[in-house]
């Protein structure tokens, strides 16, 4: 699928600017994704396209509108050298797959990329690049399709002692 390549420290204000946060529908949010910083994304992104970035993708605001805007644009996978913490959780929780790929620098804009999550690699330009598995318990949320689906059948949760 087509790659949209971004640099380091792509913040959630860039993914979806603050003035659109009264919108909750992913498809409507997608119309404003990267508005002002990469306007062609909203016009040209297609179902199955993949966002690839450098370090600290999704830093800044906790707005879940950011992963929703990408999902609304048809993006289901984000590959980055590293993710900001809140964005990473929000992605897992909403069903957007965040894959850490230390060699993401080798991927260029408009490359065609395929992901084999089970095998633990992505394939681009005839090369296999390793991706780190989603850790531990988060895998269960990913497999369920997000935290809503995961939580639907739960009546209560077990908590640890924090004293």
């Amino acid at each position: 699928m087509r790659v949209w390549k971004f640099g380091d420290d792509i913040d959630t204000d860039a993914i979806i600017p603050g003035r659109f946060l009264t919108i909750y529908d992913p498809v409507e949010l997608a119309k404003h994704a990267f508005e002002g910083t990469r306007d062609e994304f909203a016009k040209e992104a297609r179902e199955g396209d993949i966002v690839v970035a450098g370090t600290n993708f999704g830093c800044g605001s906790s707005r879940e509108h950011a992963p929703l805007a990408l999902l609304g644009a048809g993006v289901k996978v984000v590959v980055a050298k590293s993710f900001a913490r809140i964005f990473y959780r929000n992605a897992v929780n909403t069903g957007l797959l965040p894959l850490v790929c230390p060699e993401a620098d080798a991927i260029r804009d408009r490359d065609t990329l395929t992901v084999d999550v089970a095998a633990g690699y992505i394939e681009v330009n005839g090369k296999h690049l390793a991706v780190e598995p989603v850790p531990g318990f988060l895998k269960e949320i990913v497999d369920a399709g997000g935290l809503v689906a995961y939580a639907k059948d739960l009546d209560e949760v077990e908590t640890c002692s924090t004293g």
Partner: protein, 393 residues
């Protein structure tokens, strides 16, 4: 999963959390007394959709028996702190990245998304990875017109925007112990700008004085173990620290004020959860001194972080001074830092702001430039219409 002591939701990310709570089959929240609701990002409503969000949240509060501070009290993080809703040792989450502010009260507090919050509303618990910690020991004494904001900006420059990702920053040392609660909140607030999950100031007598004045709670000792394993120990001395400025477009792009002195500014914003407290407004007013007016051609927007802080500043005569000097003083809210409600920048405009983020487009046009500084530097710059070292005023 860990139990959550308190959960904060506001007008921007709250409606989505409530929708998720419903989608998860939620009917009654786990404990209405532990949920803090308020509106601060788009207040008074700046659009019909914002007004609809407020109505939606008010109905949810009424239905669930949640106390709603509504739009009357101010910016979420200031309100949580000043109402005594955060205390040492507690686990607090909020659907806002600057929730880490409550680390100033010794709480483990972290920002989460709306789906996480939907889960918390239903179950009163959340999954966490226990973070590694970086110990930040800050020694020395601040020079004149240099303070907490300069310290945290210099730390952001040093540690980097992702240097503490998924970790907790633990602040200690003489300079932290001598810092007032307002300054500690400024430091904890910006832990997220280094990617941190939490920024905790070692609780001491000042912490407990603040907390017990607001809540009926018995103080107890809470400190890191002497043999605690830290990912890293970093030492700083603030004695010779110059006023710091973050330049476009990253918070870790930090320089001494002298390196950008003379940069013309169109708008100056003094406020936000980072620097909208009485102490911040006092610092700005002290730099303003007896000057008649701010410089021609610069818009100065002052927004106290809460109704309580507004009243303190009003009674001390600070608000009168700002208005006399030509500032626009707005009611407590996030203001230009929200990048949507008001105070937006046109392409090519330059803003100096006491808030916490200078991302491209954060305060309006992606072709605008946002600089970050302390209230003292902002006030000095307002006097001259260009970035100015407050020590030279």
């Amino acid at each position: 999963m860990a139990p959550v002591d308190a959960a904060m939701i506001h007008d921007i990310t709250g409606p989505l959390a409530v929708r998720v709570f419903r989608e998860m089959g939620g009917e009654r929240v786990y404990d209405p007394e532990r949920i803090i609701m308020l509106f601060d990002h788009q207040v008074p409503a700046d659009s019909i959709p914002a007004a609809e969000n407020h109505v939606f949240m008010r109905r949810f509060a009424d239905e669930q028996g949640i106390h709603n501070y509504d739009l009357l009290e101010g910016v979420c993080h200031q309100v949580v702190m000043e109402k005594g809703r955060a205390a040492p040792g507690e686990i607090i989450v909020g659907t806002d990245s600057h929730t880490c502010t409550y680390g100033a009260a010794g709480a483990f507090a972290t920002g989460i998304g709306s789906t996480d919050m939907g889960f918390v509303l239903k179950f009163g618990a959340l999954y966490f990875r226990v973070p590694e910690s970086i110990l930040v020991e800050v020694e020395g004494a601040f020079g004149r017109r240099v303070g907490a904001k300069d310290l945290i900006l210099s730390l952001a420059g040093d540690i980097g925007a992702d240097g503490a990702t998924y970790m907790a920053l633990e602040f200690t040392g003489r300079a932290m112990r001598e810092m007032n609660m307002a300054g500690r909140m400024t430091c904890a607030n910006m832990a997220i700008e280094m990617g941190a999950k939490a920024g905790i100031v070692q609780p001491d007598a000042a912490t407990w004085d603040y907390v017990t004045a607001r809540r009926d709670i018995e103080p107890f000792d809470l400190a890191g173990d002497p043999d605690a394993a830290y990912r890293e120990r970093r030492h700083y001395d603030v004695t010779d620290l110059a006023p710091q400025v973050a330049v476009p477009h990253n918070v870790d792009n930090v320089v001494d004020v002298g390196d950008v002195a003379g940069t013309k500014v169109d708008q100056i914003f003094i406020g936000s959860c980072t620097n909208g407290r009485y102490e911040d407004l006092f610092e700005a007013a002290e730099v303003l001194g007896n000057a008649d007016r701010f410089a021609d051609g610069v818009r100065v927007i002052v927004i106290p972080a809460s109704r309580t802080e507004y009243l303190k500043a009003l009674r001390a005569g600070l608000i009168e001074r700002f208005v006399e000097a030509g500032a626009l003083v707005e009611a407590p809210c996030c203001g230009p830092c929200m990048g949507g409600a008001f105070g937006l920048l046109a392409p090519g405009e330059v803003s100096l702001s006491t808030s916490n983020r200078n991302f491209r487009g954060r305060q309006g046009s992606a072709q605008a430039l946002v600089y970050l500084s302390s209230p003292a530097t902002a006030a000095a710059s307002a006097l001259y219409g260009e970035i100015t070292d407050p020590r030279e005023v």
